[in-house]
């Protein structure tokens, strides 16, 4: 069995930095979920954790286990690939559901109506 204490210093430092960077980004995303005011803004916050937040942590894991077990460990890549493929589905469904409800209830003036006009538009000051 391998233990974290067996890790040589030259590998421990980058692993620790990668873990801190990933955890920091993910934490920032979670803070964003609390801080941001509207639902559509909050859609953006968790993507910090699912993009580079996850990437840094997975990279740290890859370095950690590759060095400890003295062989290349890359199956963490799978987690990254599956995250990239599945996350858009969740966020698109959430965004679509919110848009549908807001249009039906008409409770948010910022939500664009269902017109087919192809001109860019933006409003809603924060």
């Amino acid at each position: 069995m391998s233990h974290a204490a067996d890790l040589p210093l030259w590998a421990a430092i980058p692993v620790a930095l990668l873990l801190l960077a990933g955890a920091g980004l993910t934490l920032t995303g979670s803070i964003g979920l609390v801080r941001l005011k509207t639902f559509y803004e909050r859609l953006h916050a968790p993507t910090l954790g699912t993009s580079y937040g996850a990437a840094f942590i997975l990279l740290g894991s890859m370095v950690f286990f590759s060095v400890l077990q003295s062989r290349l460990t890359v199956h963490e890549l799978l987690i990254g690939i599956l995250l990239i493929i599945t996350m858009p589905v969740t966020l698109m469904l959430l965004g679509g559901a919110a848009l549908h409800r807001d249009r039906l209830e008409g409770n948010d003036p910022a939500v664009p109506p269902e017109d087919k006009a192809a001109e860019p538009q933006a409003d809603h000051e924060t």
């Binding site: 803004e41 953006h44 993507t47 890359v74 890549l77 799978l78 679509g96 933006a122 924060t126």
Partner: protein, 161 residues
């Protein structure tokens, strides 16, 4: 060969994923992986997706690099927005008329835009091809339309169509 391997990319990636998960190249897992790869290909064939053809691997690789850099930059941008909220930050929806119609290309664009913090794919109208995008830090609508069309849509069209 077409009957046995209707979707070679899909089967190859399934096999590769299986081998990665097992972390070994011994015959047992390899045989099982082969079985899953073939079954996966046949299952996908039953769903009858449009044939996937990647025309330009070089462009695909370049796009992946561009996207990786863009996502890193917008990670920093969104982290700043969350940790140091500015009073003058504007959020909003923008409409982007897309010329892209290929399903796989659209799915890839959706993955790119959703994975990028700061942009969220909200709605796509298949008939008019208009994409409704929500942007967290909206400075200038025109430049967003240019970014999505020039940086992502153009290469995706070259790759898939």
């Amino acid at each position: 060969m077409r009957r046995l391997l209707p979707h070679p990319y899909m089967s190859a990636s399934l096999f590769l994923m299986w081998m990665l998960m097992n972390e070994s190249v011994s015959p047992g897992p390899a045989l099982l992986g082969l079985a899953f790869a073939l079954l996966g290909g046949w299952a996908l064939a039953m769903l009858q997706p449009l044939p996937l053809r990647i025309r330009r691997w070089g462009t695909a690789l370049r796009l992946a690099g561009v996207v990786a850099v863009d996502i890193a930059r917008s990670n920093l941008g969104v982290a700043l927005v969350i940790l140091h909220p500015r009073a003058d930050r504007r959020q909003g929806f923008i409409r982007i008329p897309l010329a892209l119609r290929n399903d796989t290309a659209l799915a890839t664009l959706a993955c790119i835009l959703t994975a990028t913090p700061g942009t969220a794919w909200v709605e796509f109208d298949r008939e008019s091809g208009v994409l409704l995008l929500h942007v967290l830090d909206l400075i200038d609508e025109e430049s967003w339309v240019r970014i999505v069309k020039g940086r992502y849509e153009q290469p995706l069209m070259e790759i898939f169509q």
